[in-house]
Symmetry: D2
Subunit: 341 residues, 4 copies
């Protein structure tokens, strides 16, 4: 059966497994201070063109969001996200578990609007009662968003400007960063992103790794004793080499970008083919997630041949379903999918 359920259904890129095998018996210290972690950090800093950056490796995405947000927020602060943001909806309350509120602004196809964000903050400070409310202390956006959409350079710059004016740091969730940066519609580079964001992460789990996310604190602004905070969150990996080797491989010879591109290419072919066949889309996604509106009666049949993600009810007769491509999607499988649809 075909499987387009998500972008984490396969294991790791073969080069990663190879490097893990090659380095397997070397004796290395734990907790991400080994030579592979060091090398990976240097390569990521170079790719970000940011000498002052501090890079840290964490196993998973929700864990990273929880740890970064909790570490940066002061006790009287919450994080602002789009109401559709991953931290707002799909992390089982992991942010609130740390004692912090997720404040929300409207999400437009997954994206927040710089102007609405600014108004939210202005309204907060205009309220005479704001000492009884949660202070906005961090802005969270996803790139690409949970809906596969992308902020333009212009939009990111405007959000960043709001953040700077209001003196609130900007955090970019890059669980699918590769699929954003290699999108044909993307007009921003990794280095430019590193300038605009105060902290972001480069997703490995969905882009070729077995697990792992690389946090980049962009301006030497890592919270004090971050290793301790990581341990306190239960998020410090003993065999840090597992993360070091993977990211070292991904950031050698642009592997991260090359394999990301594959996902985009397959997704764009599917998108075009389905549009030609008359399918409608929930929204116009330029990345590896495509949301197709299907008549409900067709779903049982479809499910016999292909696994997809249920996304949302559109109306009584239609459902939006998601097809996700990845670094591992082959041209062959992509063609089979088009055939079936």
């Amino acid at each position: 059966m075909l499987n387009f359920e998500s972008d984490y259904i396969e294991g790791a890129h073969p080069l990663i497994l190879e490097r893990l095998a090659q380095t397997n018996m070397e004796a290395l210290s734990g907790y991400c201070v080994d030579k592979y972690c060091e090398s990976a950090k240097e390569k990521i800093k170079a790719a970000c063109e940011d000498k002052d950056a501090v890079v840290e490796f964490i196993v998973g995405g929700t864990q990273t969001n929880q740890l970064v947000i909790d570490s940066i927020l002061k006790p009287f602060e919450g994080v602002i996200a789009a109401h559709t943001g991953h931290v707002s909806v799909h992390e089982a309350g992991a942010i609130e578990y740390t004692g912090h509120k997720v404040l929300t602004v409207p999400g437009h196809n997954g994206k927040m609007d710089a102007k609405e964000l600014d108004e939210y903050i202005a309204d907060f400070y205009a309220d005479g009662n704001h000492e009884h409310m949660v202070f906005p202390g961090l802005i969270y956006i996803s790139f690409p968003t949970e809906y596969g959409t992308l902020y333009s350079k212009q939009e990111l710059t405007e959000i960043s400007r709001v953040c700077k004016t209001r003196q609130i740091p900007l955090f970019v969730d890059g669980a699918r960063l590769g699929y954003g940066l290699t999108s044909l519609e993307c007009d921003i580079t990794l280095a430019e992103l590193a300038k605009l964001a105060d902290v972001f992460y480069i997703g490995g789990t969905k882009v070729g790794a077995l697990c792992g996310e690389a946090i980049v604190f962009t301006h030497n602004n890592e919270p004090a004793h971050f290793v301790n905070l990581t341990k306190k969150h239960g998020a410090l990996l003993a065999k840090g080499r597992l993360l070091g080797v993977q990211f070292d491989t991904l950031f050698t010879d642009d592997l991260y970008f090359k394999i990301s591109k594959n996902a985009i290419e397959q997704a764009m072919v599917i998108k075009k083919a389905l549009a030609e066949k008359g399918y409608k889309f929930l929204l116009d996604s330029p990345t590896n997630q495509q949301f197709v509106v299907v008549e409900n009666f067709k779903l049982p049949k479809l499910s016999e041949h292909v696994k997809y993600g249920f996304w949302e009810k559109v109306d009584d007769d239609h459902t939006a379903i998601r097809f996700a491509t990845s670094w591992a999607t082959s041209e062959e499988k992509m063609k089979e999918l088009i055939e079936i649809l």
Copy 2:
């Protein structure tokens, strides 16, 4: 200067101070197990016509919301409130501080709609991904709401029915309960409320006491070791007599209801007078909080004579301001206010 800023600007009803003085030198055990607490609990249970009820006294309202919600929710659950609910907006993240998310449904003049509530819960369970989301574990409503509005008996019954069907308990924040139950539009009694709610509290702070809220767990459903949880929250008052004597007084000879009625009477006179003068209201409030829409240029002048609550911007030229009456509002001051307006 006149002061209609809030319903907690005066001290306590004189009878309360008298009783505190009379009982002052009696030697009593601490932590709300003295005879005055016992007597007050019995009187409240009688007023609620609920023998199985368990009553507990807490100093303040946010503290009570925080403690009740945290004690009832299981670790995978959050509380559903109207997006304008006090716990959603004005408690500085006190609920999230306990590790639980406040989930929101739309507030209509402060009230949630039973049907929208039911749909929210249905949608939650329809989402294939709901193990990655926060389970709805408690419904929070305010009676009266933060906007002074009231649920009808019919509306409360419908919300309660949703709760029972979904097996989710119902919690009623009664910080201003007296001003709700004695409103001319109220069609429900305390005993009826006690049947519909699984837990609620009878507000003292805003209705004649120096401090204090009486939690009523209505069906012998107090969480295990509630005293310990109260202590853990820093909410266990050493000299529990302070709460016991106050509630014992408030629930002797219907004092609580008699003094609540005064607030309603004064508020209704103000409401009528202002309507006659052509003032518009933000909404139609049948309780002690009246929200009047005033042209911005009039505010500075008004502020010279009377203290009021800033509520919200209506448009560029108008602001909604709040006048709150209370058990202590005199006819004389009420007339002065009307004169000024």
Copy 3:
């Protein structure tokens, strides 16, 4: 029946009730910004001879410990207390509830030793693994201690010196501060204490008030947005006047110290009388708590006439029981107690 169970069995000093009654109908803003709170704060700052101090009022002791400790500690830090400290044992895990560990050093009759404290900190930093441990971030001592004992000026100075050297702030729990400062063995003044401690509180609940503790941040070192943090903890009292009027009264004409003295005088008479009758003490307490070792078989009889606090088992045949005097203990009751014993 006689009652020496604790020092919070009576209500408030009569002057406090009088002032509450006098000011009762004045319209005042809430949340501790009224004129009585302001006046009380000024008087306390004057008594502490510290112009830069910031004073805040909180309802209860555990609440104060929880709020102060949580507000001061950084996320990677815990608080060091004696293993017998109130925060270590008798607050139902209120400190851990905030996410912070209580680290312990040995308690010697309730007191920590400056040298052992310093060694604890030195050992922490000597451990190569200390990023995996909880950093010491605050020192907590009680004055008097939970065992009624007192630190000498010399001992306090040494602890303070360790704190300054290690750059860790010192917090003094003064739930019974009056009974410490007026003890015959006390060789330190309130102003001197305010110089040595970074933050401490002046207990009202056990020293004449219905409720209330006055936190003193001694060197303009109040945590940012402390009002918000107080609200988030559910600890912000709506009718702040209740605390303001009480502390304003206690710090007018040295009332706080005068009434504390009464407790000490009664306690010393009891102590002397019992010693003469051959009673043994668990330890030598110079304050209002006296711990007497009694043969178990005598306890049932004693319980018929007097309420006391069970303290601890001494051996199979003996139990230490506590008699507490207070501002309200009369000479007459004290004599009755001696008679019975």
Copy 4:
């Protein structure tokens, strides 16, 4: 340079890497519901001879301790551990971060004593004030302990009996379980352990895996919505296959036990050789961690040739250092170490 610093310095057992490579391109659902996870769970249940067991996979040890303890404890409870337990000392306050206190009993070479445990609980309930204290709600022991020592079957049975009598569940931290069960002194089997413990985990990270711990809830006693709690803790791995394939391999053909045995054999040879050379040990460890007392002046020289773990200062002239063997320790390296020493 030789490296005996810890038991997690190498990667994974080669068979694991092989299986990861073989299964790499299979499309599998995430979050530990794939066929390899299912197979691994069945094999573990069979090895435990417990059909009713529920098995869950988590990435790391501190994470597992934090998640299990937080999920099992009720809000008024804490966990009892030896004062030397990993959760007491070396997890950066990860347990307290969840809001729960770690209560301690004395550790004797890392082990708690059943009698002292029982007395602790008895004393707790004997204290009239225990509603103001943290209830003991879970017992935590490590097997082997952090000092390499082992509980005998008799000792475990006694602790388990205390737990059953007191109705408190028993949790066994098995981060090094393989090295305990294959020790020559071990007189208990995995199946017997599964009968005595209410929950325990089988450590993978230190016993041949890249990462991963397998929690076993032994009597169908998994906390409700454990997947949600795992997600809320940020501990739910997206590509669950990484854990499934590893544990499936470890529990095929007794690999887990075979490779554990190697660590024990090497450790015993080192132990014997050093004893013959006159070295003293901090304690008598029958497992893969050996704690040798070395004169301080010898350490710099030693450090030139071999990496070891600093354990603790013994006296002014001596230090205890740790040599850890593992599944990966070769006879050759072991001999080199003996030579050097």
